[in-house]
Every structure is written in C-alpha cells, then in structure tokens.
C-alpha cells in the first residue's frame, strides 16, 4: 500500500514537531528512531479490479485522445480512483469529465490542498479535487501538483462555479495561485496575513501573541523542559 503514496516520510524527515516539544514521531517506545524507507511513486495497473473505476477510465480514454500525455499516473486505492493530471491539461480533462455522457461528473464536491514536503517530483503543493457524478453515482479524485516557486494552476471556476470559495481557501492555506479565478483573495485568514498556515513548514501556533503589551512567544520558541 505504501508505494501508492507520494510521501510517507514526513515524520521520518523530522519535519513534524509535537506541540509538547517532542521531536520526531512522538513515539515513546524507543523504536521510533528507525527510519522508514521513503515510498516511491507508484501507479496502479489496469484493470483496477473495480467495475466503476474501470468504466470511468475507459470512458475517459475514449473521450480524451492523448490521455497518457495529460495524466501522470493513476492510483486505485481503497476503492477510490485518483487521476494525477498535469496542470496544462487540467481544464481540458475537467471539461471532458463534466460533459461526456459516460462520465458526467456534474458536482465538484470538494477541493482542497495538501502539502507533501518530500514529494520526489519536487512539486510539493497538491490541489485535491473530489468530483461526484449524480447520474452514475460515482466519485473520483483529481490531483494536480505544483512547486512552491511556481505555484500556479488553472482555476476550475469556469467549469464548476462552486470551486470559487474552495480555491480561495486553498490559496489562503497553501499559497496555490489559481489562474482565471475572478477574485483570489484570502478567505479565512485576515487579508494582511503573511504566509500560508497549512503548509507543513508553517508551525502550529507559530505567531507571537501580544497580551497587555507583553509578547508571548510561539510554543516552539518557549523554554523547553525536555
């Protein structure tokens, strides 16, 4: 199972820090220092062994010539089909997924981000889109990844207007810029916030708090007793 996930070693990479100051995994057994091998990128073999997933992929192959160029890899895991789409092809693939009679993913259920600092491709920021077809009662996941230096991908608001707030949230939390979005502003954090809080290198509670004129340092900068 582990080869299906682009990143399994955030804990082993030491990026995580417990809120109580424990380093590493937080494992107290003494065996936590064992480093798990970083999983390699994998792609599922076809047929996936699931009727719906095979039908979706066959229909997409029929409706979208040159699919191999547009899709980096396909993962079928735990009954869910994930298409890793190259960002140049996102709108074209999205339009086919929405409009083709055999696919008909009319509803964009959810869109959010995820940050994989150890992604071997270097494209650590992922936009994860969950589509639902009401006609065929199916779901699929579409993932697009970009680098921190060039975090730009097309906006899906022209295909599914509901992506509007989802993309604003992803921009706010991960800093992914959606080209073609009509008003990409922060939605949860204040407008003047610096940084993107749900990236893995952004600490939890990493902001000094001012209380009655005094500054309370963020948790990771306070005195450590361990």
């Amino acid at each position: 199972m582990s080869e299906l996930v682009p990143n399994g070693s955030a804990a082993a990479g030491g990026r995580r820090q417990d809120a109580f100051g424990a380093k590493g995994t937080g494992d107290t057994s003494g065996f936590g220092g064992l480093v798990a091998p970083a999983p390699v990128l994998g792609s599922s073999e076809r047929p996936f062994g699931d009727d719906d997933a095979d039908k979706v992929y066959d229909a997409l192959e029929r409706a979208f010539p040159g699919l191999d160029e547009a899709i980096e890899r396909v993962v079928f895991d735990r009954g869910e089909l994930t298409l890793y789409v190259r960002r140049e092809y996102l709108l074209a693939v999205g339009r086919t997924l929405r409009d083709d009679p055999a696919l008909r993913f009319e509803l964009l259920s959810s869109q959010s981000g995820a940050d994989y600092p150890d992604d071997p491709t270097g494209r650590r920021l992922h936009s994860v889109v969950h589509l639902a077809s009401l006609t065929h009662r199916r779901r699929i996941r579409v993932e697009v990844s970009v680098t921190v230096e060039d975090p730009v991908m097309p906006s899906l608001t022209s295909l599914w207007p509901t992506a509007d707030w989802h993309e604003r949230e992803t921009y706010d939390f991960f800093g992914i810029i959606f080209e073609g979005h009509h008003a990409l502003t922060r939605i949860m954090m204040p407008d003047d916030w610096v940084g993107h809080p749900q990236r893995k290198d952004y600490p939890l509670g990493g902001i000094p708090v001012e209380y009655k004129g005094a500054q309370v340092p963020p948790p990771e900068k306070r005195r450590s007793y361990s």
Partner: protein
C-alpha cells in the same frame, strides 16, 4: 492618512496593501479601501453600500454581509467569512488519530456527530477495518446521528423564526431541541461537542434507561411537529415572507455545489443515505422529502418532513438494537481499540478503577499496551480517502491523508455550510433587502463549520 498605500515588495498580487502610519503598519480592510467602496456608491443615483454583521442577530452567527443596495433592492451581495476560523484542520495534524475527533466535533457545533462519523469512517477505511466494526456500534451511530439531525433542523427552524420576528417559533424550536440534548447528554455525556464516535466504534455503549427515554421522545415528537405545522405552515405572515422568495433551481444548485435540503427543495432527491449508502442506511425504511418550488418555504417544509423521517429511522434503530442484544461497541482489534474501560465514579466518568487495578496489579503487558496506545496512538497505513455522509445541511465529506504515522497527515472537512453559503448572492441579488435575512436563514449555515 497621508502616506501612500502600497503593496509589499515581492508579495503576491493578491496580498493586501498597507500604509506606513507612524510606528505601526496599517493594513487595508477586506474588500478594498472603504472610502473607495463608498465613493463608488455615490456615482449611482441612490446606491449605497451597507455592512451587516459579523455581530448581528440576524446573520445566523458571525457571518458578515456587504450589501450594495439601491433603495430596498439589493444590487450586489458579498459575504465575508473567517471570523470563527480556529485552525481545526491544522491542529488535527499535531494530535493522534483518536484525539482528532475532539477537534472535529467542534467544527459544525450543531451536528458534530456527523463530522465525527465521516472522519471515523475515513480512518476505518484507511485502517481497512470497515468490515470489523460491530453492528451495534453502527446502529448506535445512526441512532445518534438521526436524533441530532432533528435537533439541528429544530435550531434551523428556531433561529429562522427569530430572525424573521416569529419568536414563538424560536421558543418551541429550542424547547424540543433541549429534549434531544438531554438524550444526547444521557448517551454521550455531553450536550454538544460529544467526541462520542471514535475510530473503531464508540466511546461507550448506550446507558441503562436510554432506550426508554428515546421511546418516550418518539411518542412526544410527532405531536410537536404537528404543532409547528399549526403554528407556521398556514400562517399568513410566515407564508408571505417565505413563499416565492430566494428561488434557486436544481441546475444552479449543482453549479454552485449546493446539496442537502436546498437541493431537495429544488426537486432533486439527492440524499447520500439513499444514493451512496453508508452505515447500513440501505436497510432502513424512510423517504426522502422533496419539493419543486425551490423557494425558502419549500426548504422549510423539506426540513420539517425530514424530522419525521428521522424519527422513523430512530425507531428502527431501537428495534434493531433490541434484536441484536448486548455486545461490543468497539472493534475487537486490540491494536486500535481504546484500551481504557470507562465507568461512572463519584467524581464523574473516568477510568474504571477495577480495570486500573487489574492492569497495574496483574498484567505488565496490559499496562504497557495501555500506555503506548494512549500516549502514542495507533499507526494508520499510508493512503488517502474521502468519505461523505448526509449531514443536516448536505454533503459532509472528510478527506483524510495518512503518511503511515500516528497522526493524521492532512484532514480536510468539506462542510456543507461553507459551500452552501455561496448560494446567498444568487438567491438575494435583485431582491428586497428584507429577503436577505430569509435567504441566510433558509441556507441555515453554521459558522463553526464554515470557518473551521
């Protein structure tokens, strides 16, 4: 302010501008410079911009609306959210898989059991133990969810009534909700923020007397629903305020991602309990109420009818439970199941003293196991899943990613309130300013879930 407003060097083009004023940097407020916004309004004949909320009794919580109005007509509606953002998703990444439930239950505070269930179903799928969840636990999950659906709709009814000036509706809505909160307190120990549903099963079984109390409620509640109909459904003022107001048809709903009672009020019977069943909903008999008017009154009726359907499901749950008889409510796998045995002591609920005595006195292995599982937690194989349940407001999905560790790598809650709020401009623009309140009430957002 004399200094120029400028964009910070190297910032994204969407970053807010700021003004250097003395010692402190002053940032521009959301939506541009207020003076410019007001100035734009003066160019038109009678157009003014008014701000409503976030601290306003009719905005259903800390929702802020910026309304561009001309006389009584709304030209543009803009919604500003984020006033209740608490970083629940980020916090989950720093706690164990079990502890994450305690955060997520605080997201949508009117239907926390749904968020808990969606999250736990996701974690169970990642663990691959979905088939091993005891049936008794699944039935109790359905039971408490359906009780909570009624209580959530009651708050929706009560607050809508209050926002429209029908304070009797508020009183009766909260009166019955209190009874459900009493039941949930009896079952879970808390009125809200239950953290009752855990990965692998439940925190504890139904207490003695719960079944009788729920059965009493089942006798009482149908009479109350009739009372709401007598109080509101035929009432001329209620009808005048709600009928043909805030129309949104099914295709607009789909484009805007709207699910739940709003979508069903537009005629599409899309209910995940029927269309993509989970928790064994396919074995229960109930109807999916729909309407075709697609207005606020239709949404009110759909919610009222859903309460009746939930009562049917609760009754079937109780029958199933008595057929199943006593049994475990947590998965048998000792590597996942929470090791503590809870009991009621003189100072409230806590670890069972008998259990402590046993593991401390007789079994070193049990003590180590208990310590490991409670402090470190269990590991979840890497992967990602998205599980959606039908919440009182629509599709409540949870996307969980694991990197193989003892803490979630990423948790994202697709909260229906967040998505459904996007419909408010479509419902209100071109209408009367008074109907904006009706629109927000008919969407019934919970800002805790919107902002997370």
């Amino acid at each position: 302010m004399t200094a120029d407003t400028h964009t910070p060097p190297g910032a994204a083009p969407y970053e807010a501008g700021f003004t250097e004023g003395g010692a402190n940097r002053v940032y521009t407020v959301t939506g541009g410079d207020w003076e410019q916004v007001l100035g734009a309004g003066e160019e038109g004949a009678e157009q003014i911009v008014i701000n409503m909320g976030p601290q306003h009794p009719s905005t259903h919580g800390v929702l802020r609306l910026v309304l561009d109005i001309e006389g009584e007509t709304v030209r543009q509606t803009r919604l500003v959210i984020g006033y209740l953002h608490t970083g629940i998703e980020k916090s989950c990444e720093f706690r164990t898989w079990t502890q994450a439930v305690t955060f997520l239950t605080r997201a949508d505070y009117l239907s926390p059991l749904f968020t808990e269930t969606a999250y736990c179903l996701s974690v169970e799928r990642l663990l691959g133990v979905t088939d091993q969840i005891p049936e008794r636990a699944t039935v109790i999950r359905v039971l408490v969810m359906e009780l909570q659906r009624i209580s959530s709709h009651l708050v929706g009814l009560a607050t809508s009534g209050m926002e429209l000036g029908a304070t009797t509706a508020m009183i009766v809505g909260f009166r019955e909700r209190e009874k459900i909160l009493d039941l949930l307190e009896m079952i879970t120990g808390l009125r809200m923020n239950h953290a009752y549903i855990r990965p692998g099963g439940l925190a504890q079984d139904l207490p003695d007397g719960a079944e009788r109390a729920i059965r009493e409620f089942l006798v009482d509640m149908p009479k109350r629903i009739k009372e709401y109909h007598r109080l509101l459904t035929g009432q001329p003022i209620w009808k005048n305020r709600l009928i043909d107001v805030n129309y949104l048809d099914a295709s607009s709903c789909l484009a805007l991602g709207i699910t739940g009672p709003i979508l069903r009020s537009a005629g599409l019977p899309w209910d995940l309990r029927k269309t993509m069943p989970y928790c064994g909903y396919e074995t229960y008999e109930f109807d999916v109420p729909t309407a075709t008017e697609a207005d606020s009154f239709a949404r009110y009726l759909v919610r009222l009818e859903e309460m009746g359907e939930s009562l049917k499901i609760v009754e079937q749950c109780l029958d199933k439970l008595s057929r199943l008889g006593p049994g475990p409510v947590m998965v048998a796998d000792k590597k996942i199941a929470w090791p503590a045995q809870l009991s009621i002591g003189s100072d409230g609920m806590g670890n069972s003293l008998d259990h402590i005595r046993k593991i401390m006195g007789t079994s070193m292995e049990a003590l180590i196991h208990h310590f490991k599982l409670v402090t470190e937690g269990f590991r979840v194989p890497p992967g990602q899943v998205y599980t959606a349940v039908e919440g009182p407001r629509g599709e409540l999905g949870v996307h969980v990613v694991s990197d193989g560790g003892t803490k979630p790598f990423r948790v994202h809650v697709r909260d229906p309130s967040f998505v459904n709020l996007q419909a408010v401009p479509a419902m209100t623009e071109g209408g009367q300013i008074g109907d904006v309140i009706v629109a927000v009430a008919s969407v019934d957002p919970v800002l805790g879930g919107v902002d997370r």
